[in-house]
Symmetry: C2
Subunit: 362 residues, 2 copies
DNA sequence: GCCGTCTTAGAAACCGGTGTCAAGTTGAGG
DNA sequence: CCTCAACTTGACACCGGTTTCTAAGACGGC
């Protein structure tokens, strides 16, 4: 046989008596490896590898033949072996410090829907940015797992130290944040100032004049953006937003309650409040109840997020909807494709329900 | 040094101009491998491997020396390479179909705290048991990822088909369910009948006589257990639980609302309701409001779960607390240790708040 | 002193893929 | 007919670990 393509010398290891002796071994239907596919197709494993990786340098005929065999056997390459050779795993991590379960689960859903059908898997990794070992923890996590990439929702997305580590480790990432902080192909911008603007515009249209804002912690970018958009809308309607009507909460129910109590004790009392998120809006509801005030008759409230809880409240909360799941899907797609993805549906939008109305004539 | 171990010939790949375009690549301080440790310690890689895996057949002196070097270099074995050789990854999957974000996040937290400091990672995998391809999807997922193990919260934990697949694939698992369905070392039992009993006992003690129950879908084991415990408590107090006072909901707000509406239209009207979960309790709150009834004056309500939302409701909800995070931690620990873990704090317990009171004299 | 056993250690193959590089074919151009 | 480039393909080393098998010493018993 002069020029027959050499078969990958199948060095038959002389029937290892033990392992094949068990009659039950028959059922152990070991799943096919790249070597099996190569042998069955009469090509080398390298060629099979090329086909798996969509290399362009393969003859169409060969490609078709091997692809057929792959389909017939149901062969799927082993992610660990591939990862080892690539020096890159097929794991995508979501690193987060956001405490809201609804937000986390929406994010995960979006990411999962983006990686469905690919070889990627999602690993979750909560963190605490205030821990002294935060950066070194993250470094060893990313390095050891040889992560394919990382998704960063707020507020970790604002952590330049973390991003620097990721760059050093040559780990891809996509940041989800209220404003652009990085190259467009690694940023998914949520435009929180637009959400704030919509909230302000809505309350102004209702005719409110004394309008308050309970913000989140001012160290977050999104908090600043929401307030900025909100103030702009009020200004356009000739309404002032004095400093004393802006209270800093912490995105929690309790902080919303506390800020609500303060606002409702003021003279004159604000007739409307824009809460930085729904959780704090729920706190403000509680404060209103404590003061014997009725929503929306005595106080209009606008939230932000459109949590499921905003529908549980009574009356149902007017709020700014964030398409979190969709945003996460887009971000994950960007990460995988390594390119910006066209999207026109990531903007926050006003959802009018029953917690806002014209102010009562005083 | 006669028998010096062969060095892994470090084939310097001649500075690939393109991919190393980033100047930062220069400092790419490659992390140490098992070969480096072996060379530095003057032993073979197999010996290092033995030490990593706590094999007993290593001389104490050698072990100490190598361990020192490992500590000095900060060496950590590569999970992918290890997984490839072991034919088992270091991934633990949480497969779930529970729709509650609070529950999912609590579970994840518990699992993450159990695997912290180990080489395991958590991958999340929601599923839909009603999909025709459910079992084959799960099979290929588990097989391809060569999962170390799987955690099954309700209701997937009740799916015997899935469990059979896991056994076939030789994949370890731990099931979290209301009653024991399997060997003790793979079961974490939540004893929902006790929670139901506590709810019933509490309402009976308040003096209620006409008590209703809004259950979840009866196909779930937990639903049956909660009802069984509840009915037993009532029976012990000489209270009947007629069939028509047990309505089947679906663990959703909407189904709670619908069942609440039905109950409150009855004559005589029940003075207390035990909801199968907090979400449905919230729906019952809404129904009470629609009927102009006040909680707890006109209607006492007990929930189940102790969601964060149960504190957002007004009045705060009396409910049965499930230590979800702790349960998940226990289950994950069992999975890793491959043995039952002693636990005495996985029982549901009554949390009395303000949604229950003595019935009004009619 | 010889031999079997126990302890400790290493060489080589292997897990299932990919990168490198060289070689065989083919067709166009001289 | 020869040369050269383009196109395909495969051998081989390698990714970073583990398993198998073999062997060198140490030790005790005969």
């Amino acid at each position: 046989m002069p020029s027959r393509p050499k078969q990958p010398s199948r060095s038959k290891p002389a029937v290892k008596a033990r392992s094949t002796a068990t009659p039950s071994a028959a059922k152990a239907k070991r799943r096919p490896t790249i070597n099996d596919i190569a042998r069955m197709s009469g090509v080398s494993k390298k060629t099979v590898s090329r086909i798996i990786n969509d290399s362009p340098v393969v003859n169409e005929e060969t490609r078709a033949k091997v692809k057929r065999i792959i389909a017939e056997t149901g062969y799927v390459p082993d992610p660990q072996a591939r990862g080892l050779a690539f020096r890159k795993s097929f794991l995508i991590a979501m690193i987060y410090d956001n405490p809201s379960p609804e937000y986390i689960v929406s994010m995960q859903k979006g990411i999962l829907s983006a990686i469905e059908g690919t070889s990627f898997q999602l690993v979750v990794r909560p963190c605490d940015r205030t821990k002294p070992t935060f950066l070194s923890d993250m470094r060893s996590f990313v390095e050891r797992q040889r992560l394919f990439g990382v998704l960063l929702p707020p507020s970790v997305s604002e952590d330049e130290g973390l991003v620097k580590v990721l760059r050093e480790l040559n780990c891809d990432y996509v940041r989800i944040a209220s404003v652009s902080l990085d190259k467009p192909e690694v940023m998914l911008v949520t435009n929180d100032h637009i959400g704030g603007y919509e909230a302000g515009q809505h309350l102004a249209e209702q005719g409110h004049k004394i309008i308050a804002h309970v913000s989140g912690l001012k160290s977050f970018r999104s908090v600043h953006e929401r307030r900025r958009g909100f103030a702009r809308a009020l200004a356009e309607n000739g309404i002032d937003l004095p400093e004393k009507l802006v209270l800093e909460g912490a995105y929690t129910f309790e902080s919303g309650l506390a800020c609500g109590e303060k606002l409702l004790a003021m003279k004159p009392r604000p007739t409307a409040v824009f809460a930085g998120n729904d959780e704090m809006a729920a706190g403000i509801y509680r404060a209103a109840r404590n003061h014997g005030l009725e929503i929306p008759r005595d106080l209009s409230v606008v939230g932000y997020d459109d949590n499921p809880t905003s529908l549980r409240l009574w009356p149902p909360l007017t709020t700014i909807r964030i398409p979190t799941e969709n945003n996460a899907r887009m971000a994950a797609t960007m990460l995988i494709k390594k390119a910006p993805v066209p999207h026109d549906d990531t903007l926050p939008s006003l959802v009018v329900r029953e917690s806002t109305a014209k102010p009562a004539k005083s």
